[in-house]
Symmetry: C2
Subunit: 357 residues, 2 copies
């Protein structure tokens, strides 16, 4: 069977499909559990979560499924950002805040220097089966700590060199994120523009240069994409956008609606929301901020500065100022339950294996 391979066996999942650990509230406990219950691997996007909320979410998931699931965390970054840069960015953001009746810019606090360690501790304590990482290579200590507990560690790469770095640092598997992918670019070794490699080109080249299993991501939305990725040499796929529009997803209803009616030409890679390049549907916020793209405070500072704008825009029904993360396959998005999305994919691949080939 197409879905039986060493990765599926290792992770104890029926289908080699991983739901991307999207941060920002998309990955509700219901979504993660529904994906895992359907035979794929659900994943909590805990990037921005404090340890308490993370633990709460993990426990909710455990109440909804007995199947394996994962948690995604971010490698911490502490950029040097000056007061002046922050003030300049706040000037550019003021018109949005005024329109939304947000009285003050959020305070940029020093990030909790131990957040990452605390997140890892929760994952260990809760014995989460899988931990995936974005934005870099996790510190050796964390990798050892997790592997000692038999927790599978998965890294993210956008180039072959980054995939090799993941293998060299002990990661068990690596996601190869093609340029089609929605949301944040995982690039951590060099400029993001050089690392905008299409999935069709990235996956086979990555597969040829590492021995750990490669998980394909970027533009994969249905059974065709899943089987194509396996043919390219991937041992599994990671799908984000396909699950954003699912019934169980916590994405704002306007975000879901916008994806469902968008076409592939409408997404763009922007740093306007977070200070880090990410693919989303072009809107007024992105267009207005485009001219300042190169001068914005680095991630995560810009992310903090736009936080209330994004949340208020969602509350006040203003999708033109929301971060509408989306990959390059929106025409293939569907409003279905996560379980249906997965069973549709499995049926589609079964069908291709039986008839077409």
């Amino acid at each position: 069977m197409w879905h039986e391979n060493e990765l599926a066996e290792y992770l104890d999942i029926r289908y080699p499909i991983i739901q991307a650990g999207m941060a920002g509230g998309v990955t509700t406990a219901e979504l993660v559990a529904a994906v895992s219950n359907a035979g794929a691997l659900g994943c909590l996007g805990a990037g921005y979560m404090n340890p308490e909320d993370m633990r709460k979410s993990i426990r909710q998931i455990k109440q909804l499924t007995e199947r394996p699931f994962g948690v995604n965390v971010f490698i911490p970054e502490v950029p040097k950002v000056s007061e002046e840069e922050i003030n300049k960015a706040n000037d550019w953001l003021r018109p949005f805040r005024e329109e939304l009746n947000i009285s003050e810019p959020p305070e940029v606090k020093q990030p909790d220097a131990h957040l990452f360690e605390k997140q890892i501790e929760v994952i260990v304590e809760e014995q989460v089966p899988v931990c995936s990482f974005t934005f870099g290579i996790p510190p050796k200590k964390a990798v050892q700590q997790l592997k000692k507990e038999k927790i599978t560690v998965i890294g993210t790469a956008t180039t072959v060199r980054e995939a090799i770095m993941n293998e060299e640092n002990g990661l068990d598997m690596v996601v190869a994120q093609g340029s089609e992918a929605g949301g944040h670019r995982g690039t951590f070794n060099g400029g993001f523009e050089e690392a905008m490699i299409g999935t069709m080109a990235l996956v086979p080249q990555a597969v040829d240069h590492v021995n750990i299993p490669v998980i394909a991501a970027g533009g994969i939305m249905d059974g065709r994409g899943v089987l194509a990725a396996l043919i390219l040499g991937a041992k599994a796929v990671q799908m984000g956008t396909a699950f954003v529009t699912s019934v169980e997803s916590g994405a704002n209803v306007r975000h879901k609606e916008t994806i469902l009616k968008s076409i592939e030409e409408q997404t763009v890679v922007t740093s306007a929301f977070s200070g880090k390049p990410a693919r989303g549907i072009r809107n007024a916020f992105i267009e207005t901020m485009a001219e300042h793209e190169k001068e914005l405070p680095e991630y995560p500072v810009q992310n903090t500065l736009t936080k209330t704008i994004r949340s208020e825009a969602a509350k006040q029904n203003r999708p033109e100022w929301m971060s509408l993360w989306c990959g390059q396959g929106p025409r293939l998005s569907k409003q279905r339950s996560a379980g249906e999305i997965i069973s549709d994919i499995a049926a589609q691949v079964d069908d291709m294996m039986t008839f077409k080939l």
Copy 2:
């Protein structure tokens, strides 16, 4: 068999593989004939050719193969470019000309307003089996003229909308060119940046929206890419970079060498050489011209202005100033004969069909 489908039957080829009609001397008669003799479709890149040279090449190909082959031509563009723009561009190009001992900038003549019609006439007169187009939709008259002669007409699209336009205008098939592709972007309906869609996302969405066969292009370098593209719904693939490094290719030896030793992060989309965005390996010419990217004379004027620089750089062994077109899969490039490249692909796919699936 994986390679038997309506497109292969229609074109009377054994393998649904088309060698891209790359302009600029890559597609020697030897290459085109070798590809066709190996069971795929060779294609002469006649974009920049005058009718006499084109006819000569077609006749050479006919002497080397009895199998079907194609000719690729460009939809003509006549931009308004001012003397001032040309002078400015020549100022930026002067340092390269001085280094290469090129005494004067090439003269920018009015293009032959009837070149395209004359090219079509040659294709008709020589009864070339396939005619493909880049940079737009061919005029109705040309489509009718070719179809009347039972010459298959193939268009190029970089978005779903462009694919639909090709179908609506009577093209028999359409190449869906993903963002991974080397050489010129075929975008003609809107900005090229919006049309940088990865092959994994572009192909299934295009397939869902047109009834004519879709030919996948971009990042496809071996049997894995070919089979993946067919799984995505394409009826054939078009491969360019894979054939640039072939023994029979007319590409400059330094161009071939540079592809063979490059990695996926090294390509970039630039308008510096021709005034039209194209993907090639980053070098000093691209880097130096980057700051003027938005102010260059439009294609084909900039192409004319850099012509002697490119040809002299090739002669004088200066790859840093040559146009080193290359897709995002250079790690998969091989120095093999075209026939071996095709038989390797066929064997690889046969193997995947037998064992892996």
